[in-house]
């Protein structure tokens, strides 16, 4: 399967099953589209007939072009087939192997963001804080079930995890002790709205947290529309100075400024620009996922505007990079040369098997997005272990091949079938798809691949190589 697209002056062919990316010109792209299913003579005739005024399109040139396509096919870089069907369960063959936990240390929040999937932090239940004993038990559970996995991940999540800060610190200390005893390596991460961020929290996070997600929606009026405290006051002016200080002291360690855009700010590129202008350089801006009838929900008719924003964002990133003011946008970070292996691309996020969420009471769920969905998605508990074997098995087998809608999708080895929770909430099955999210994802992937091609082109031109001529960067 080959996906071809043109964006920002680049003509690109992605060979889905090999992962190869070919940067072409319009005629070469046309040839790639035709040559998979049509004989050489037909392709030759069509190209010559379609480009009578192009002096480059001669019989000899087309012959050489088709020879190149033959070579690429022989090298396994074009028109490759799906040979992965029997490999999809490799990373899930032991459904009891766990390597990551999302610790819901607080089912409570000091903000009342109306779009929050967690129902303002308490997940459609009672407000609660996780006792330290439960958090320690969770880490012990993780080590016990991690098998040969060396790198283990623990994410402090909520609600707002800083409402249970002492437990966070003591849990990290317990993890460091376990590292000495077991040789495992814990990566601790934390997501916060920033309201309680102070110098002590900052210093601790910068020492102990592998990554920190800081929630900011962008421009003051956008952020404050949803992200209000319990007195109805916007939080922008409270959190931005704290985030700026945090990032300044963070050095080169990982962090993300993470925003949500809704129907109210379809011009979300302005919010990303605002984040960059505040001095943040690791950015993420996510489309809201909410009930279709809610006023902030994104609609089908919004897609052209959103697509245009994503494309403009890619151009903006190239322009800023040239000025020495570049920033990262999470969904455009695509390491083509050292990206994930095919096993990872087939099996996805690992929810329900190698990744579990733990509630303050110690119940286990497939992931944080299922915690508010009640008993039907409860897998078990830290005390009892996994008791809902039927549900565990459903997640174990939830590979890209279980999503029948993904069969002929070019992006399936970039998303592994998408988010199980979004699919479940949209279609009632973890094996379904969240179609709207798919459309956004595919546009982001095209932009990310184009950016990779553009960066390669910039390097090539700097080194004295040829340009393809029409690109905008």
């Amino acid at each position: 399967m080959v996906h071809t697209f043109s964006l920002n002056g680049f003509d690109i062919a992605l060979d889905v099953y090999s992962g190869s990316v070919h940067v072409c010109d319009p005629v070469s792209l046309e040839a790639i589209r035709m040559y998979e299913t049509q004989p050489l003579e037909t392709v030759m005739g069509r190209l010559l007939a379609d480009h009578p005024d192009n002096p480059e399109v001669t019989a000899q040139a087309v012959t050489e072009l088709l020879d190149t396509l033959d070579e690429l096919q022989a090298q396994g870089k074009l028109y490759t087939r799906d040979i992965y069907q029997n490999s999809a369960l490799h990373l899930k063959k032991d459904p009891n192997l766990v390597k990551a936990l999302c610790l819901h240390v607080a089912h409570a929040c000091n903000l009342t963001c109306s779009y929050c999937f967690a129902g303002q932090g308490h997940y459609q239940g009672e407000a609660a804080l996780m006792p330290l004993s439960t958090a320690k038990q969770a880490l012990d559970f993780l080590v016990k079930h991690s098998g040969s996995r060396r790198h283990l991940e623990v994410d402090f999540f909520g609600g707002e995890p800083l409402l249970n800060w002492q437990t966070v610190k003591d849990t990290v200390a317990h993890g460091r002790e376990l590292e000495k005893q077991t040789g495992k390596v814990f990566r601790f991460t934390l997501t916060t709205n920033g309201v309680l961020l102070d110098d002590e929290v900052t210093a601790f996070c910068n020492q102990e947290m592998h990554n920190v997600v800081l929630s900011l929606d962008g421009r003051p009026e956008v952020h404050d529309h949803y992200r209000k405290d319990h007195q109805g006051r916007g939080s922008y002016h409270t959190v931005v100075p704290k985030f700026q200080r945090f990032v300044k002291l963070r050095g080169d360690k990982e962090y993300y400024i993470r925003g949500t855009f809704t129907r109210r700010n379809l011009d979300f590129l302005e919010d990303i620009r605002h984040m960059a202008d505040l001095g943040f350089d690791k950015l993420s801006m996510e489309p809201v996922v909410t009930a279709p009838d809610s006023p902030e929900a994104l609609r089908e008719e919004d897609l052209p505007v959103i697509f245009q924003q994503y494309e403009e964002l890619a151009r903006e990133m190239l322009a800023r990079e040239k000025q020495g003011k570049g920033f990262q946008f999470y969904h455009y970070m695509l390491d083509l040369a050292h990206g994930p292996c095919v096993y990872k691309r087939l099996s996805g996020c690992g929810s329900g098997t190698e990744y579990l969420a733990v509630t303050p009471a110690g119940a286990l769920y497939p992931c944080h997005q299922f915690v508010g969905d009640g008993e039907a998605y409860r897998l078990g508990s830290l005390k009892e272990g996994i008791t809902n074997r039927e549900l565990q098995e459903a997640f174990q087998h939830n590979t890209v091949y279980e999503h029948t809608a993904c069969g002929d999708c070019w992006a399936k080895l970039y998303c592994a079938g998408g988010c199980a929770a979004n699919a479940c909430h949209a279609q009632g099955s973890i094996h379904g798809v969240y179609d709207y999210g798919c459309k956004l994802f595919k546009k982001r992937m095209e932009c990310a691949i184009m950016l990779a091609a553009a960066k390669e082109e910039i390097s090539s031109v700097k080194a004295g190589g040829e340009s393809y001529g029409d690109q905008n960067f």
Partner: protein
Amino acid sequence: MKIKTLNTRDLAASLKNGGCGECQTSGVANQPCENKEQA
């Protein structure tokens, strides 16, 4: 008429040199491979 093939990880080859399971949980495609010797 030109075709330039970018340097990408060979997914078919990763059947043999991938699958260690040490990568971070996840966008799947955004995750770098932890095993730099293999990727």
